[in-house]
Subunit: 698 residues, 2 copies
């Protein structure tokens, strides 16, 4: 599942193994769309209205994915695995929405998400000149970083005050461009429909990132405003038939992050250090999550969302690493850089980046361990290594909020700037349940991991453990903190630094112990990052000069337009068809004796005879997508919803490590399967009626 | 399951948290048994005949466990998880002995193990003086190590030539004593009975190292000589009732390794480096084994034994690490050492050990990666990190055999000395199947792991990968080698170094690439180890002087006698009874809706009404056992077989990290459960008759 970026695929695309064979390459800005390419290759000319409609029908799910509006009354669709975070948070031992699915027969029955925020991109504005003007050539890296932060904070604040919209300044082309993105926020989001996890994630981890597939990976929510279903102007018209093989389609979503312009020296660090280190973390987490989950059904339920996320990331980074270790790919990466170094400034700029890496190396272990942003937007959706505990994350947020709020807006960490206030509050004051037993398991592992990484005799480790074993310390902290109580968090949040100090909450005190070293490391890291950013901006300029500006920037979890043809591929001498059909699902279940994760839900077994065996279920296209695109609508030339992205097929990477551009595919659920399942499996005709209602002619 | 040493438990026992509260402490030599303790505490005086009978009825399974003879016609019993290696090797997709179990109704139907060797300890002889005389004080560490090796090889060779028995010189008390152990070997071993894995390993990984339990963890083989069932003089009388709560019992088996005399500085290295590094390896292996196994039933079958082994080791070392990170335990370890440092020589000796550690540090990464003996006998039963591939292991054996055989016997690596010739041949010429797909998966992971550990630019890594990606290189090697063919291996084995070179087999050439660096590191390691060994011998002398010689040496996977009382324990305020009964099995299945790993096999469900619900199933005693003791017979004062060790309960460690000596328990299958299952579930009355036959009065 492609919730966060599948860097493997990216890397391969980036490698340009076959140069321009990716006719359908690109994650384009809506204000710089691939008009030329579409015209030349497909003789298609989207109008400004067509683009605006698709842009404003598209949604960013801040839990880490994409989606789209599909009715005038606020209905929106995303992947089940994007909705999973919410499904997990609103479930209980008795009402297990993840396992059992859910359908609200009336609006009154739609349960509210605890902390889900949707963003709709309303406008984009170039603010490069204003941001760049703040940074003077004579400034030190540290001062430059501060000045840039101040300028950005000011622009965001101004915009928010003026428009009331969430206002984010986005860095594009690694710093060559800055744009002000304004989002309409929805934070009252309610669950309308979810299938059983068994069919949403049919085939489980073995089938993840593989094809052919048979997954109904969808989840339908409804956005509310002022307690009423939101009135939506731009939403996608529902197409009940899905796309045809060979049809041109478009994907509008928020790819997480790509490294297509990264220096070879940075990719080498990724390959030799960062990815292996991330993988070690995922291996250990997956192991203990599986072991703990196997002990009881309720354990499994409590850990489900984290287990899925860890499995997914492990498979993703395994694939990425396999790609980076492929000599053909590596050669292509080196050649890409060589092309640029023909320009006069480039070699010096690449050297600057390398020097900044070296200057960062010393703080990197602490930075990665206690901060772990490292420029990866998707990292926001993963607990950092220290510490994997919801309560600790609350503690850190509350502590830092108190400390940061004493500073001027522009000098705060970006995540505490005024423009993100609403989003921060949604997160910190969330009412979702926290389970002590699971918290202790996670925190014990985190403390153990920290001890083995830095050594038992490390002063910070000693301070953190406070003379106790990891499990004793974790137990003491989880049992001792009051942060499970949202009212308590609110009190500290509103009370600020002094209230936070006075509370003497043990988890907050733990957060305080690591905060100093984490801040110190972040400071060094960000100063060097500023140097890198300036160098990359210079390289981007050189690139523009050489290749023109008809290009797309690396992905940044902001809205992009991709396009591609629905088409199969060859693998191991066999032709994999573009579309799978319903009968294939039942065949796959039978092939695996209906054993998990290939077991077909009872409801689907019962209704088999009602279903058309030839209905398209999933399909692949060659659109250029990555993680973060999960839940992105797939639309046809008429702008109609014909499917929803949920994965990419990187099995060729993981298992074969021979990647052909002919094989890279985006995997979607077909709108035909969705329509039929709602009608014939889930008895959700009213929901289908809403999708097909006259209003939806829009 | 306690196939190889559960160091956690050991460490705790060693810690002496409650000093002499372990009334039943000790893994005693059969030639220095705890007569005083047994007399004082239990008023029991075993006769020399009693001891000899138990010793010669006991078996070492060279696949890594223990067992015992139980009939005059060669029947021997061990754990299912000890027999698993053989069950796996003789199974095919159609005949899945692991999953389905097996019962040979006649001797003709007993399938032969591919490479299983049983050892029965026939005699022990002190050779300390002769070994020590070879080492002169003026020798360098390197020379001393060689001289010692030569002396040992000579003693072993002489003994083997004289007696025809396998002759091993065993290092005891870390080098204070050397004994010549002579073993009768059995290498024609055939399968008689195995239950389904589902009941043998009931509760799976979640229940492993936990209690209460309901596992029929047994496997029955028959030793053959000259094509006929071996005639056995010493075998245990079968007791159909099992032990009573509170009864004194004895355990005779081969505990793998303990670290009770290890210096604090060595334990710190274990805690901060060795165990975390081992765990990282197990985490990654467990992850990819699970992922690969989930793809198909046949994958799962092929990987089963390795998966079980990895899961077991991961849980074991997790527990050990938790123990080492417990400050109470660490303090106890430090105090134990302080007691010794009261003697005049001790501080200098501990310093020597520390210096040897420091001198080893530089070669340790390569040594651990490419050699990985590091004094842990159980490591022999795990593939070293580089490389986890059966074919590679064959390659390395064949290559080294060729090279080592050109040297005089005493100068070879111990595993290639003449005295181990038979065992080596059994291993190298084994006919067990090797699966290309599984080999590629394992080797790809190993190569990837090596690359991330040493870096893509490391010269050895580059040489090993030969310009290919890990998966391409693994595929090329597995497809290119002829080592799957036992006849080819035999040819190279007999042909020696020149035949091995001439073969130009790619897997052997890979083994050759890493052999130089591995040998270099081993040389440094062993020279420093010699220094350590001399220091430990000095410390042992000091210990004898202070505490007398009525003590037991650290475990070395050689035969030991333990004793203990059948008794329950308190946990979380609840009294855990010593014995579980059959009805508890069915209850546990129902509690978990009969879902894996708590599903009860069909045969057991069908026969439930025939079984006595009150039959004892498993029991715990406070006998001092560790891994390697798996399969050890538990006997009563009359020397009768009343049960079989299969696990220890270290859940208190992993989950609570508060260890009480009152909680440490050895877990056994009750002979009553075995008898009833054979009769009523498996219709194996003839087998029961053989166990109970008149001949078995012996």
């Amino acid at each position: 599942m492609r919730k966060t970026s599948s860097l493997a695929l990216i890397c391969l695309l980036a490698a340009g193994l076959s140069d321009r064979a990716f006719g359908d390459e690109g994650m384009w800005l809506f204000n710089n769309p691939p008009l030329k390419q579409l015209k030349e290759k497909y003789n298609f000319e989207p109008t400004p209205q067509w683009l605006e409609h698709l842009q404003k029908s598209s949604i960013r799910f801040n839990s880490g994915g994409s989606g789209s509006f599909i009715s005038a009354n606020g209905l929106c669709i995303t992947n089940h695995h994007v909705g999973l975070d919410t499904l997990q948070k609103i479930s209980t031992e008795k009402n297990n929405y993840v396992r059992d699915g859910f359908y609200a027969k009336s609006q009154k029955e739609e349960p509210k998400a605890t902390d889900l925020e949707l963003n709709v991109l309303m406008s984009m504005e170039d603010v490069t000149d204003r941001v760049k003007a703040a940074v003077k050539p004579e400034m030190s890296a540290d001062d430059a970083n501060k000045a840039r932060g101040n300028a950005i904070a000011e622009i965001e604040k101004e915009s928010r005050e003026k428009t009331g919209l969430r206002s984010d300044v986005i860095t594009l082309y690694q710093g060559a461009q800055y744009q002000l993105y304004r989002y309409k926020r929805y934070d009252d989001v309610r669950l309308v429909f979810a299938p059983e996890e068994q069919i949403a994630f049919y085939g489980g981890d073995p089938d993840n990132f593989e094809y052919p597939r048979y997954d109904l990976d969808i989840c339908i929510f409804r956005a509310y405003e002022n307690g009423q279903p939101a009135k939506i102007e731009h939403y996608l018209k529902w197409n009940t038939k899905g796309p045809a093989d060979g049809e041109l389609t478009f994907v509008s979503g928020n790819p997480g992050r790509t490294d297509r312009q990264l220096a070879v020296s940075e990719l080498a660090e990724l390959r030799d250090q960062e990815v292996p280190s991330l993988l070690n973390m995922f291996y250990r987490r997956e192991t203990y999550l599986h072991a703990w989950s196997a002990r009881s059904f309720e354990n499994k339920r409590r850990a489900e969302q984290q287990t899925r996320s860890v499995e997914n990331n492990r498979k993703r980074y395994d694939g990425y690493l396999a790609g980076l270790l492929d000599p053909d790919i590596w050669r292509a990466i080196e050649e890409r850089q060589k092309k640029l170094t023909g320009t006069s400034e480039a070699p010096a700029l690449f050297d600057k980046i390398k020097q900044a890496q070296e200057a960062t190396a010393k703080v990197l272990p602490v930075y990665e361990y206690f901060e772990q942003f490292r420029g990866r937007p998707e990292a926001r959706y993963q607990a950092p290594r220290a510490f994997n505990s919801t309560l600790f994350q609350f503690a850190r947020r509350v502590l830092r909020h108190g400390d940061e709020m004493t500073k001027p807006n522009g000098e705060r960490f970006p995540e505490f700037r005024d423009s993100y206030k609403d989003s921060l509050e949604l997160e910190v004051l969330s009412s979702h349940p926290v389970y002590d037993d699971f918290e202790i398991v996670k925190l014990t592992d985190s403390l153990t991991d920290m001890t083995t990484r830095f050594g038992s005799d490390d002063p910070l480790v000693k301070q953190v453990l406070a003379g106790k074993s990891p499990v004793d310390r974790a137990t003491e902290l989880v049992n001792g903190t009051k942060l499970k109580d949202a009212a308590f968090r609110k009190q500290l949040y509103l009370g600020g630094a002094s209230a936070v100090s006075a509370a003497k909450d043990p988890m907050i005190e733990l957060a305080r112990m690591v905060d100093g070293p984490a801040r110190d490391a972040r400071k060094v890291y960000e100063a060097q990052d500023e140097i890198k950013q300036q160098a990359y901006a210079g390289l981007a300029k050189a690139r523009f000069a050489a290749e023109g500006t008809n290009s797309y920037p690396d992905a940044t979890f902001t809205l992009r337009l991709s396009y591609g043809t629905v088409r199969g591929y060859e693998q191991g001498g066999k032709q994999i068809p573009a579309l799978t059909i319903t009968s294939g699902l039942y065949q796959r279940g039978a092939d695996h004796k209906n054993q998990p994760p290939f077991d077909i839900p009872k409801r689907w077994l019962d209704r088999e005879s009602k279903l058309n065996p030839n209905t398209a279920f999933n399909f692949v296209s060659d659109a250029d997508i990555i993680g973060g695109n999960s839940g992105s609508p797939v639309v046809n030339k008429a702008g109609e919803f014909v499917g929803i992205i949920f994965d990419g097929n990187i099995q060729s990477l993981v298992l074969d490590c021979i990647f052909s551009d002919k094989q890279a595919r985006a995997v979607s659920v077909d709108s035909a399967a969705i329509t039929e399942a709602l009608q014939k499996v889930y008895d959700a005709q009213p929901l289908v009626n809403e999708l097909l209602s006259a209003k939806n002619g829009g």
